[in-house]
């Protein structure tokens, strides 16, 4: 590797353009928002950055604390469901016949490359009251009703006067459902990566020595796959926590997450300093989670080195 001052001209040619772009069009905007978060709204568009902590204090208001709490709860629940569903999927892919593996992996990754907005829209089309799930339910209801009439119970209206569509959208369940739908691949991939590295002879030894499948899973598979689990949990949790589109399109008035509040501050509510403070609080949580992940993977390499 060359030292930079041995080839100054070449170094600056390669180094300067991307670095300048990053500073000018990424770090400067972030710094500006960071500054705004210590500022005060003076007019319609004017913001005075005067070092006030007012915006952060306001974020501690029970109203916003509740939204933070709810966002954490949604993200945690999503992560948990993804883990519960993703683990068997990752195990199944790991132990699938070799010629199936690439296909199964591709099927897992493919949704990543389908537009997030379109995937969310697809959920709306499926779950809304005039959607496909309700249509299927109505069809089933009509058949069941006809069957009841046929056996002579038609007058009792056991299934109700008429079909009531299920309200599956615009509530908290829909948001968590949508978040799981969007983030499941984030969980499966790191789990697969960890399980695929796992030494199979350990599992064989455990089973040969009389441990049950469940015991082997709990005392051998989980501890060995732990770095992958931690990685998957964090990789799923971070984007789920910062989700904007899913709660925006699938949620009701009561299912706002942090990102929706931030959007409102910057658009309709027009309170940029407060939105900036919320935005940075979300960013700090993200950094904290990333640091945890880095620490976990450092712990692993230290363990392997020992």
């Amino acid at each position: 590797m060359d030292t930079w001052h041995a080839h100054r001209r070449a170094f600056w040619t390669f180094f300067l353009p991307p670095t300048a772009w990053l500073v000018l069009f990424f770090l400067a905007p972030l710094a500006l928002v960071w500054g705004f978060s210590f500022g005060e709204k003076r007019g319609l568009v004017e913001i005075a950055i005067n070092g006030t902590l007012e915006n952060y204090v306001r974020a501690l208001d029970p109203l916003y604390l509740r939204i933070f709490g709810k966002s954490f709860w949604f993200a945690a629940l999503t992560t948990l469901i993804c883990l519960a569903v993703g683990f068997p999927v990752a195990v199944a892919i790991t132990f699938a016949p070799p010629r199936w593996k690439p296909i199964l992996l591709l099927l897992t990754i493919l949704p990543f490359w389908t537009n997030l907005l379109i995937r969310t829209y697809a959920l709306i089309a499926v779950l809304r009251t005039r959607g496909y799930v309700n249509f299927a339910a109505e069809w089933g209801w009509e058949r069941a009703d006809a069957a009841l009439a046929w056996v002579g119970l038609g007058d009792l209206h056991l299934l109700g006067e008429r079909f009531e569509p299920l309200a599956m959208l615009y509530n908290n369940t829909a948001v968590v459902f949508g978040l799981v739908y969007v983030h499941l691949p984030f969980m499966v991939l790191p789990l697969y990566a960890a399980l695929d590295r796992l030494e199979r002879s350990y599992l064989e030894a455990s089973l040969d020595l009389g441990a049950s499948q469940l015991r082997t899973f709990a005392s051998v598979v989980v501890p060995l796959a732990l770095p992958g689990i931690v990685s998957g949990v964090i990789i799923t949790f971070i984007p789920a926590l910062g989700s904007f589109l899913t709660p925006d399109l699938l949620g009701g008035t009561d299912s706002q997450m942090i990102a929706n509040v931030i959007e409102r501050q910057f658009k309709s509510a027009n309170d940029w300093p407060f939105g900036a403070a919320l935005s940075f609080l979300l960013m700090y949580v993200t950094f904290f989670a990333l640091a945890l992940r880095a620490a976990a993977s450092r712990g692993r390499s230290a363990m392997e080195a020992a």
Partner: protein
């Protein structure tokens, strides 16, 4: 043939992939992941306005989407932004990858971390930062097309080029740096060594990175949402406003076209990456 070989044996203790409940979970998961998208695509060809009962095959919603001027305008905007953003991101990303690969310099760790920031920070944070930035510096609005797309394009370059840098650097990781040094020792200028030694080797990475940048730009909604104005609407932003309004077969048709384009580009990128043996990247959710 013996009786044992004739019928299938019960799954062995480690053959989890052959256990019925495992297969069922796998199947259920893929149905969960694909059924909504498959229905969306299927019903874009459905000849019924209510969009629920199958009434026969039609292309009429594609025709309708094609004749929807604002939708086409948004689509042209998206493609224009994606082309310019891809070009710039590929150049910037490649320069960054080579700089980090070739040189030792002070504060390299923090530099690398800063370069990874656009990949890891929540999209909403980057979106509002771009909104605040362009408002504060008084970025001119109301410029003639395509200059009015400048702000969105700049934002797209900012989040795309670090991805390109990661892909190209993964490719460079396997490069024997002595080849580059040998070329320069034997009298090649910096530029000649770069053009004739590094670029040919990096090429699959460059193409894969460019295709990734293209799909990232074409697909982005959240960051664009904050940088777009009333007359700079991109395809996802347009679809968003249509989705908020109603669920129509026309939106299904438009979405299907976008899915097809993205999958085609991703397919090419994966194929190239598979051939070049570079590492794969998880997408940006």
């Amino acid at each position: 043939m013996s009786a044992a070989a004739g019928r299938r044996l019960a799954p062995g203790p480690l053959e989890y992939g052959r256990r019925a409940w495992m297969r069922l979970t796998l199947l259920a998961t893929f149905v969960f992941l694909y059924a909504p998208i498959a229905t969306l695509i299927a019903f874009s060809f459905n000849d019924s306005r209510r969009n629920i009962v199958w009434r026969g095959f039609t292309f009429k919603y594609y025709e309708k989407a094609w004749n929807n001027d604002s939708l086409i305008e948004a689509f042209v905007n998206s493609l224009t932004i994606a082309f310019v953003s891809t070009l710039a991101s590929t150049v910037l990303g490649t320069l960054a990858a080579v700089a980090l690969w070739r040189f030792r310099f002070p504060f390299k760790g923090p530099h690398e971390a800063a370069m990874a920031l656009p990949i890891v920070i929540p999209e909403i944070c980057m979106g509002v930062a771009m909104l605040a930035f362009f408002a504060r510096i008084g970025w001119p609005t109301g410029l003639p097309w395509p200059l009015n797309l400048g702000a969105i394009t700049i934002a797209h370059i900012s989040f795309s080029f670090p991805f390109v840098a990661v892909v190209v650097r993964a490719r460079l990781a396997n490069f024997n740096r002595e080849l580059d040094e040998a070329a320069r020792d034997l009298g090649a200028s910096e530029w000649q060594a770069f053009r004739d030694v590094l670029v040919p080797y990096m090429l699959p990475g460059l193409v894969a990175g460019a295709l990734l940048a293209f799909t990232l730009s074409l697909d982005d909604f959240v960051i664009t949402f904050f940088t777009s104005g009333p007359d700079t609407v991109t395809f996802p932003v347009k679809v968003y406003s249509m989705v908020r309004f109603s669920v129509t077969p026309e939106v299904n048709a438009a979405s299907t076209v976008l899915i097809a384009i993205t999958l085609l580009i991703t397919g090419i990128a994966l194929w190239l990456q598979g051939r070049s043996g570079a590492r794969q990247l998880p997408g940006k959710g």
